[in-house]
Symmetry: none
Subunit: 530 residues, 2 copies
C-alpha cells in the first residue's frame, strides 16, 4: 500500500479569506520559508486574478530558493462563452509564472445553472479548455472540484462528468472539495472511495470546518485512498476555516503511519504553528490539537499524578514528537532539554543540571509569565542567556528620555518630539528628534545619538514592526508585545519587548536589536586576533 | 430505528478542568438554567469528592425548578481494599443528593496495575460494588469507562470485563471514554459497534479533542449505536478540550435526523454558546462551527455574490436555524450590493445607482487605501455612511491634546500624562490624567472630560483593544490600525482608527466609539416623540 501523502498548504490563499486575516508580501514570504523548511509539497500562494497585489508576491518569491515545495497559483476556469486565451483571470495566472496552477471549476449542477448562469455542457468545456490550456503551457495542473460532494449528492452523474472533463484536459490531480463544509465523515469516506476506484488520476481532498469535521473528513478521505491533502496550516479560512494541516499531518503520520513530511521535521510542527500565528497577528488557540499551549497541559491532580508515573496515562503521544511541551498548572516543569540546547550555543560546557540552567529556566518562566514569547525572537533569547551567564556588557546606557505627543496639524504628520540622553563609556550625548508619533521620534533620537559612537549602526534599519495586545480585556491599559526585525543588509534578526506602555515595549525591543548588532560586530573584530 | 439521543453536558465538571476556567457557584447556577432551558438530558455539575465547594452548589441548585434536565454528581469507584460505605469520596457523592450519579472506573489494565496499583480482580470488584451501592440508594447510575478505547486496544477481554462488572452492579448506562483523545473515527466506530452489539445496557460516548476528532468521533459512535453523548457545551476541558456539544447537537439533529433537543430550541444554540462563554469569561472562537461569529461570514466577492443569489451556494445550512446570522465583511473584495444593504439601514430610499452610493463607495475605497478595514468595525462604517449622507452632527470637538511620556521609574507604572481640551456646545472643559503609557492616559482624560457632559458614558468601557501594524517595512513610522470594542453592559460595538501615530489611531477609534454610544442614546430618547 502506497503511504505517501502530498501536503498542499493554502494558508496564503484560502487562509487569507478568513475574517481578520490580511497578509503583506513580507508576511507571505516569511510563511513560504517556514512551510518550505517544514517540507510541505505545495504552497498555494495567491489568486493573481482576483488580487493584483499577489503578482508582486509571485515576483518577489523568486528570490527564495525553495527546497521542498512547489509554488502554486490559484484561479478559476475561464468564463463562459469566451476563449481561454482571452480570459483576464487566465492571463493573470500565467503572469504568476509558477510551476503549478490550481484551477477550480463547478461540480454542482445547481451552481452551474443558478450561480454562474451557463449550461451544463458549457461548464464541462470551461473545465476541459482551461486545464488543457495550462497543460500546453507546461504547468502541473491541480483541478479543484468545487462543491464536489454537494454536487455528487444532487446529481452524481453530472458531478462525475466534470471530473472526466478535467482528466480529459490533462489534469495531474483531481481534488474533491467540501466547499460548504457540510458533510459528515462517513459520506466523505464513501464518496471519495467511489471516485478513487474509478478515477485515473491522483485524487485529493479539500475540507472546510463548518461542522467541526474538517480534520476528520480529511483523514477519512485519505483512508479511502486520497493522496493529496489540502488545508491551511493552522486552520484559517472562510467561515469556520479549512482543515487544519498541523493536526492532519500529525494524525496521518503519527497515528496512521502515512508519510507526509520527513520524520525529523515533525518536531517543527509546533514552532511553525506559532510562527504562522505570530505573522498573521492572531492568537493560536491554546486548545489546538498537538501544537496548542494547553495540548499537553494538566490541571487535575489525578492527571498530574498519572503523567508523573507514566506519561501515556493521560497523554496520547509524547509532546516532544511534535515540538510541544508538557505543562503542569500546579507545579510548572518546563521543557529543560530544549532550552539547554540554546544555552549550549553560547556556553557549550553548561549541563542539564548546572545551576546556570536552573537560573535561566527561572528567568524564562518569569518573562513568559510577563507576556514574553521567544518564538521568532531568538536574538532577545540569546541576550537573556548571555546576561544570566555573565557573558554580556551593555554597549550603552539609556540614561533618560521624554516624549511629547500633540494633536496633529492639518498635514497630519510629525506629531511628536522625543529627547534621549545616552551614556557610552561615561561619555554623555543628548539628542532630540521629531517623528510620526512618539515611538518613531524616540527611535530616531536614539539612533542619532548612538551612531556618533557606533557608526556601524548607520547600516541598520528595521524591516518589520509588529504590535500585539495581550489580555485585550484590559483595553488601553493592556500589556503589549512588540516584535521587531532588523537588518544590516546582510543579516536579519528579531527582538521582543513587553510592557503596558507601547513606547517602553518598543524601546526594549529596539535596544536589544542594537545590542545584537554591536555584539556581532565585536565578535567579528575579535576573530582577527584568534 | 430509535433516533433519540440523550445529551449529557459536563461543562461544569470536565469543562472546569480546562486551563483558565473557574466557575463560582453563581456562574454554575446561571449555566444550569441556560442548559435546562435548551433541554439537555443531564448536567454533570460537579465532583463533590474532589471539590468541597461543589457541595454548596448542590445545595443551592435545589432552588431552581428544572424542566428538562437531571442533575448528576460525578465521582470515582471506591478505593482499593476498603468497603464502599467507608469511602470518603462515595460519602460526598451521596451528600450531593442528586437523582443521578456518574461513577468512573478503570478499563485499561495498564492503569489498574501501574497507576492505581491494584489487581485486575479488585478493580472489577471496585466497579461492581460502587455501582451496586448507588443503585441500592435509588440513584440512576451512569458508568464512565475511563480510557475504554485504549484499554480495549491493549487488552480487549479485560476491558469488556470491566463493562460487565458495571452491568452486574446494575448500571443504567455504560459510557465509553476516549480519555486521552488519541483515537481516530474509524476505530471509535468499530469498537463502539462491537460494544453496542453485545452490551445489554444503553451505551454512551465521551470523547476528547487531542486529535481534533472529538466531534467526529462522537458522531461516529452515535452512528454505531451510542444513545448518550457526553461533552461540554462549547468544548472546554483538559488539554485540547472535550467534544463540543453545540456542534454535536447541530450535526446530529440537522444533518442526521437524530432527536437531541426540541426542534424549536435549536435556535437557542448560538445564544447559549455566547452566554456560556460570557459566564466563563472567555472569548468564543469566531470560527466555532454553527455558533461562532464568523460561522456564516463571507469575505470573498464571489462567495458574497453567490450567497446573495442563493444562500445554499456557500452555506451548508441557513444560519437562522441555529440562531446565528449571516455577515458580509466590508473588504476590498466586497461588492456594491453588500454596501448598499448597510446604507439602506440608515437611509432606506438610497438605491444602487444613487449618487450617495457612489460617494460612499469612493470614500470607502479611499479609506481602505489608507489602511482602514471595516470587518468587525461596523459602527465606524455606520458613522461614515451618516457623515456622507449629512445625517450626522458631532457630539463634541476635541480642541487640543498633549501627551508626555517618560522613562519608567522603578515601579514601571504610570509612565505618561495627558491633557485634553473638549468643546461641547461651546462649553470648554480641560482635564489631565496619568496612565500606563500615553494612549491609556489620553483615554482616561477624554472620558473624564466627556462624562461631565454625558453621564451615560460612565456605563461604557472597552472590552477589547487590538493593534495591527500595516506596511511593517516602514518600521516605527508605519501606519497602525487600532480596533476597539466597547460595551455599555447591554450592547457591544466596534470601531477602528488608522494613523502613523498609534496615539492618533487609538483616539480616532475611541472618539467613534463614544459618538456611537451618544447617537444610540439620542435615538432611543427620540423614539418617545415619534
Amino acid at each position: 500500500m502506497e503511504k505517501n501523502i502530498k501536503i498542499y498548504d493554502s494558508t496564503l490563499r484560502d487562509g487569507a479569506q478568513a475574517e481578520g486575516i490580511s497578509f503583506s508580501v513580507e508576511d507571505k514570504l516569511k510563511i513560504v520559508k517556514a512551510l518550505d523548511e517544514l517540507g510541505v509539497s505545495y504552497i498555494e500562494a495567491g489568486n493573481p486574478g482576483s488580487n493584483p497585489k499577489d503578482l508582486e508576491f509571485f515576483k518577489r518569491v523568486k528570490e527564495i530558493a525553495l527546497n521542498n515545495t512547489k509554488l502554486t497559483a490559484f484561479g478559476s476556469t475561464r468564463r463562459r462563452n469566451i476563449k481561454v486565451q482571452d480570459d483576464a483571470n487566465v492571463k493573470s495566472l500565467l503572469l504568476a509564472d509558477s510551476p503549478v496552477v490550481a484551477i477550480f471549476g463547478k461540480s454542482w449542477d445547481f451552481h452551474v445553472k443558478d450561480i454562474i448562469n451557463t449550461t451544463l455542457e458549457e461548464n464541462l468545456n470551461m473545465i476541459k479548455d482551461t486545464v488543457a490550456f495550462f497543460k500546453e503551457k507546461g504547468k502541473e495542473v491541480v483541478y479543484d472540484a468545487e462543491h464536489f460532494f454537494d454536487g455528487y449528492k444532487a446529481n452524481q452523474k453530472y458531478a462525475m462528468k466534470t471530473l472526466e472533463a478535467a482528466v480529459d484536459g490533462g489534469a495531474d490531480s483531481i481534488v474533491l472539495c467540501d466547499t460548504n463544509g457540510g458533510c459528515m465523515p462517513n459520506e466523505i469516506y464513501e464518496i471519495t472511495k467511489s471516485v478513487v476506484d474509478t478515477c485515473k488520476k491522483e485524487v485529493g481532498i479539500h475540507c472546510h470546518n463548518d461542522c467541526g469535521m474538517a480534520v476528520a473528513n480529511t483523514v477519512m478521505a485519505v483512508l479511502a485512498g486520497a493522496k493529496q491533502v489540502q488545508g491551511t496550516y493552522i486552520g484559517f479560512g472562510e467561515r469556520c476555516g479549512n482543515a487544519n494541516l498541523s493536526t492532519v499531518i500529525a494524525n496521518l503520520q503519527i497515528k496512521k503511519d502515512y508519510h507526509c513530511i520527513s520524520k525529523e521535521k515533525l518536531e517543527l510542527l509546533t514552532g511553525v504553528a506559532r510562527k504562522v500565528a505570530e505573522i498573521a497577528n492572531v492568537s493560536l488557540d491554546a486548545k489546538e490539537p498537538y501544537v496548542g499551549r494547553a495540548a499537553f497541559t494538566h490541571k487535575g491532580g489525578m492527571h498530574i499524578d498519572g503523567v508523573n508515573k507514566s506519561s501515556k496515562s493521560f497523554e496520547h503521544i509524547n509532546p516532544e514528537i511534535v515540538g510541544n511541551e508538557r505543562r503542569f498548572l500546579m507545579s510548572e516543569v518546563a521543557g529543560r532539554s530544549t532550552i539547554l540546547k540554546k544555552i549550549q550555543k553560547v556556553a557549550p560546557d553548561v549541563k542539564k543540571d548546572s545551576p546556570e540552567t536552573m537560573l535561566i529556566m527561572d528567568r524564562l518562566k518569569e518573562l513568559e509569565h510577563e507576556g514574553y514569547q521567544f518564538e521568532g525572537a531568538e536574538s532577545t533569547f540569546e541576550l537573556i542567556i548571555r546576561k544570566n551567564l555573565g557573558k554580556y556588557k551593555p554597549f550603552f546606557i539609556l540614561e533618560n528620555f521624554k516624549t511629547i505627543g500633540e494633536k496633529p496639524n492639518e498635514t497630519g504628520k510629525l506629531t511628536a518630539f522625543a529627547m534621549v540622553k545616552v551614556n557610552v563609556d561615561d561619555k554623555i550625548k543628548m539628542v532630540a528628534a521629531e517623528g510620526d508619533g512618539p515611538v518613531n521620534a524616540l527611535d530616531k533620537a536614539l539612533r542619532q545619538a548612538l551612531e556618533m559612537f557606533y557608526p556601524e549602526l548607520k547600516k541598520v534599519h528595521l524591516t518589520d514592526y509588529k504590535v500585539r495586545v495581550l489580555d485585550t480585556k484590559e483595553a488601553t491599559a493592556a500589556k503589549v508585545r512588540v516584535l521587531i526585525t532588523s537588518t544590516d543588509g546582510v543579516h536579519q534578526w528579531s527582538t521582543v519587548g513587553v510592557s503596558t506602555d507601547i513606547i517602553n515595549a518598543s524601546l526594549i525591543a529596539l535596544i536589544d536589536s542594537i545590542e545584537v548588532k554591536l555584539l556581532r560586530e565585536l565578535t567579528n573584530k575579535m576573530k582577527a586576533y584568534i
